[in-house]
């Protein structure tokens, strides 16, 4: 018999505290779709997606009903598109992108990721084709997401790729000027890109993965926040280690929900289950914010000294609870701090308490990086390249994933508010305290050598 208190607490998490499965992402390897003609390659890729993912949404909906747990997004991550475009030009990339976008629409998934280029050590012609095609691809497709890996701990930072990526971010924003540069919100630049990340825009099926696999991203910032609030209501003088304990136990329950749903979806699809990504992924909704957790912990103004420590505490407790909950943990697995997608963080940026530089410090102790940040329209590619280099360096040296997803809003000015709607959220344009002055360094190109931490063999 199930304990009635357990029933009531689980129902409360699901009904009142926004616990959901943020994404079920089906990874599909497309390496066998290469044909002599680019159009045939595109059609083969689309056909395979339609065949493998045709039941994904229906099955997710059935499992969601069975457990009373919302599966908010159903997505697809393909193997890196650069592998399908060796020896091809930008027009072939556009043909492929269009076919992928159409296939995603046909199977009714929200987004499809993996229009990706692995450029951390060098660039093949296919890699270059993907990167060069991004402004056209991201301005003409609806569901397709792209990513570029520019650094790893073992390879160091590929500065030429960083510069190219930065220029393409600006061009992509300009190509989607009518939507305030929204195209750039579908492009992430990584250091140490994970191969099993289910979250967008960076989802991709890495080279060591099965042909098809289900990866799951859980959510639950609201559940964690309420758990902290309940603890502090019952014991107002709780210490930080007691708060960490509470978060850890709650993260355990959140993770188990994700694994249950993911394993059952995988079983019904007849594919292996991959990982649960433990990340706390906020949405713009009130009550579903990572920033609110820091408020609950006692950080009244996000960005105040101590905020980075709060992020570190949360991130660590989530990992500990999640890693005990499941042996299949992967992806990014930490606390996200996407500025536009989290209303509390977004408000703090608008209020001026949370600066870009503080966010950068916070990314050193949590997952992802500078995510969903609006920049002024006149931000130079070199400044964006500098941001990417800084983030990549944090990732490379600390042997962790970092990323940059920034949107230089065409004609946008600091302080201006921009709303993309839906899960992409709204925010205020902000800029670095010192937006220029590193151009000479950035334009030297080449590589930043791998750090000594990469020499582990």
């Amino acid at each position: 018999m199930v304990d009635r208190k357990d029933v009531l607490s689980t129902v409360r998490m699901l009904r009142e505290e926004n616990l959901d499965v943020r994404t079920v992402t089906l990874g599909i390897h497309l390496g066998d779709c290469v044909r002599n003609d680019p159009a045939d390659t595109a059609e083969a890729a689309a056909s395979k997606i339609r065949m493998k993912a045709c039941h994904l949404v229906r099955i997710c909906d059935e499992i969601a009903a069975r457990y009373g747990v919302a599966v908010v997004n159903k997505r697809i991550a393909i193997s890196p598109a650069c592998n399908l475009l060796e020896g091809r030009d930008v027009s072939a990339a556009l043909t492929l992108a269009s076919a992928l976008d159409k296939a995603a629409s046909d199977v009714s998934v929200d987004l499809i990721g993996g229009f990706s280029a692995l450029a951390h050590k060098g660039m093949t012609p296919g890699t270059r084709t993907v990167i060069e095609s991004l402004p056209d691809v991201l301005s003409t497709t609806q569901r397709l997401c792209a990513s570029i890996n520019v650094a790893t701990t073992h390879a160091g930072v590929h500065v030429d790729a960083v510069l190219l990526a930065a220029r393409q971010i600006v061009r992509t924003a300009l190509a989607t000027r009518s939507r305030r540069g929204f195209g750039a919100a579908k492009l992430t630049v990584f250091a140490n890109m994970p191969e099993d990340n289910p979250f967008m825009a960076g989802a991709v099926l890495g080279p060591g993965e099965p042909e098809c696999v289900v990866n799951v991203g859980v959510s639950g910032p609201g559940v964690i926040k309420r758990a902290v609030e309940r603890l502090l209501l019952a014991r107002p003088k709780s210490s930080l280690d007691e708060i960490a304990d509470e978060i850890k136990h709650t993260a355990y329950r959140v993770t188990r929900t994700g694994e249950l749903v993911g394993r059952e979806v995988a079983k019904r699809l007849g594919v292996p289950f991959g990982v649960v990504d433990l990340s706390l992924a906020p949405t713009p909704r009130v009550g579903d914010s990572v920033g609110e957790i820091y408020h609950a912990m006692g950080i009244e103004k996000l960005g105040a000294p101590g905020t980075t420590a709060a992020v570190a505490l949360l991130n660590d407790a989530v990992k500990k609870g999640g890693s005990f909950a499941s042996s299949s943990v992967g992806g990014l697995s930490g606390a996200f701090i996407p500025l536009m997608e989290d209303h509390a963080l977004s408000r703090a940026a608008a209020d001026g308490t949370l600066s870009l530089e503080k966010l950068e410090a916070m990314t050193a102790v949590c997952s992802v990086g500078l995510d969903m940040i609006l920049l002024p329209g006149d931000t130079s590619p070199e400044a964006i390249a500098g941001l990417i280099l800084d983030e990549a360096s944090i990732g490379v040296v600390n042997r962790k994933t970092t990323s940059v997803r920034v949107i230089p809003v065409p004609d946008g000015k600091p302080g201006e508010r921009v709303d993309f709607g839906g899960l992409f959220g709204a925010g205020t344009i902000c800029q670095p305290v010192c937006p220029d002055g590193a151009e000479t360094f950035v334009n030297r190109g080449g590589h930043i050598p791998a750090p000594i931490q990469g020499l582990t063999n």
Binding site: V2, L8, M13, L14, Y67, V69, L260
Partner: protein, 216 residues
Amino acid sequence: MQSAEHGISMRLVSSTITGNRDSPVRHVISVLISDRVGVLRDITSAVTALGGNIDGISQTVVQGYFTVILTASFSRPCDAETIRSAILKNFAPDEASVVVRPYERAGEAEPTVRGERYILTLNGNDRPGILKTVTSFLAEKGVNIEDWFVEFHAGHVVHVGEITLPAQLDIRQLQTELKRTASALGLESVLQHENIFRATNDIGPIRALLEGSANG
């Protein structure tokens, strides 16, 4: 026994049978009594003194009233009235109501309904007729109630029912109809497979949970 601080609990089916089911003399015994320390001792000592072995038991306390249903197998002939009298002797006059009947169900107890276990939660303001309406609805659908608990807080009521759904039932259709039925009573209803509660509260591997469901 300790009284429940809040709420009432109804266990409508007991399935804990562990003892000698092949005994020629087996009885089912039910006792209702105002709760106090030592009630179960007084019942079981009477049964044991008659040579009875208790091989199934379920007990609960509702608003200060203790109730137990048990089955016992006896090694020597023993009729229902003898057992009832022996139990009553351990209580004050009129303190307990005791019913004893010969156990009539032969062989292994079969599940009343074959299917998967779900948890139904209803919550809202209390009013007369909730249980009648909901249990009638469930009975019409062939749903068996395994356990039911009700908690009251200042006019607010929460029902938690553990139910087995016939395998052929369409869950989403049932959820829709339940919502409609509950809504007419001013209640919110949630129907979820029991595994979500096991996943979030147990510590065993999820894989084992799903394998258990597949075999169940």
